[in-house]
């Protein structure tokens, strides 16, 4: 089971859904923001996946499609989660060209 929330950058949750291996279990989406035709790059497979191919992998990969501040997806529960990645931050010195 994978549970997904759809947020705005302002913190509003505009939709929620629960997806099982057998398909959609529950959805609350009054604004119709969830697009079941969207393909996503699977977090486990690394390949494009559609809802009808593998509904759970599709759901847990939705943050890769819904990723802008107007609306982004957050996986809040997952029976087969992705391993956390230790992401090393970049440091970039800020320079400005003289005379620019």
């Amino acid at each position: 089971m994978v549970k997904v929330e759809f947020h705005t950058a302002e913190g509003e949750v505009v939709a929620t859904m629960a997806v099982a291996a057998s398909g959609l279990e529950k959805i609350e989406d009054p604004q119709s923001v969830v697009d079941f035709t969207v393909n996503v790059i699977g977090v486990h497979t690394g390949k494009a996946v559609a809802f009808d191919d593998d509904s759970e992998e599709w759901a847990r990969s939705l943050p890769r499609a819904y990723r802008n501040p107007y609306l982004f997806a957050v996986v809040v529960d997952d029976d087969n989660p992705v391993s956390p990645v230790d992401q090393k931050p970049m440091e970039i010195e800020e320079r400005h060209l003289v005379g620019a």
Binding site: A9, V85, I92
Partner: protein
């Protein structure tokens, strides 16, 4: 090119011309909401105000989810630069491209991240996940298809555009995963798929003129000064193929 050299060159280009100067010059005011980074697999989104009640969204370079970037063949830096590169090209191309692409600038906001800059844009009105543009703003969809095809957009799903039904304006969002190279992943190229399906893949004269300007430029209208060489080479190759074939790129081909 060293990352600091890339960002330095982009800062210099932005200083030379950026129509939305407030994005570069307005002092930081306050953060409204910062979210996303604490959750694996989600890009960080920061809603903030610059002085003058300028409401913006900021995507810190260090807030890009590295696994998602990697899935599209990008790095934290290339994803952030791609956002700005798309706007700079659209602006140089002129109407209608500078109307459908949201201005994005590279800016460092130490209140969010002291280590590196990010991509900053004004918040625009409109809703995501709408198919209305295909019915009500056909000319913008035609332009979006050309733009996506040329820049090697890798994911133009319905959440990556805004539709403002009040003004009938389409705005393209999120060019962080664009400027793909041959072999990189692509999904959901809605506008170019639509244009092919309409059998309107033949380029318009104005589009051919844009390609000619891009290819006759010494530095791809400035992109070669700051952007990854392999991504610039791929852009140049697409422009050449499109000019010679007088068609959009085949769907999914970068």
């Amino acid at each position: 090119m060293d990352p600091a050299d890339q960002t330095t060159m982009l800062y210099a280009l932005q200083d030379e011309f950026e129509p939305d100067r407030a994005l570069l010059d307005a002092p930081f005011d306050r953060i409204t909401k910062k979210t996303g980074k604490e959750i694996n697999g989600v890009n960080q989104q920061v809603a903030l105000y610059l002085e003058g009640d300028l409401y913006c969204y900021f995507k810190p370079l260090n807030g890009v989810d590295v696994t998602t970037a990697d899935a599209f063949g990008h790095t934290l830096l290339s994803s952030t630069l791609a956002e700005c590169a798309a706007w700079r090209l659209a602006h140089r191309f002129g109407d209608p491209f500078d109307r459908i692409v949201i201005p994005q600038v590279l800016r460092k906001l130490p209140a969010v991240d002291e280590r590196a800059p990010g991509a900053l844009a004004r918040r625009h009105e409109g809703k995501t996940n709408r198919s209305d543009p295909f019915e009500h703003a056909r000319e913008y969809c035609v332009a979006a298809a050309f733009f996506d095809s040329l820049i090697g957009q890798q994911d133009r799903n319905k959440n990556n555009w805004l539709w403002d039904e009040r003004t009938g304006q389409l705005k393209l969002l999120d060019h962080g995963f664009a400027f793909g190279r041959p072999g990189d992943e692509t999904v959901n190229l809605r506008f170019s798929q639509w244009r092919w399906k309409q059998k309107e893949e033949d380029l318009l004269e104005a589009e051919l003129e844009v390609l000619t300007r891009l290819l006759e430029s010494d530095d791809l209208l400035g992109l070669r000064q700051f952007f990854d060489e392999d991504r610039c080479d791929a852009l140049s190759a697409r422009a050449t193929q499109m000019r010679d074939s007088r068609k959009l790129m085949p769907n999914g081909e970068l």
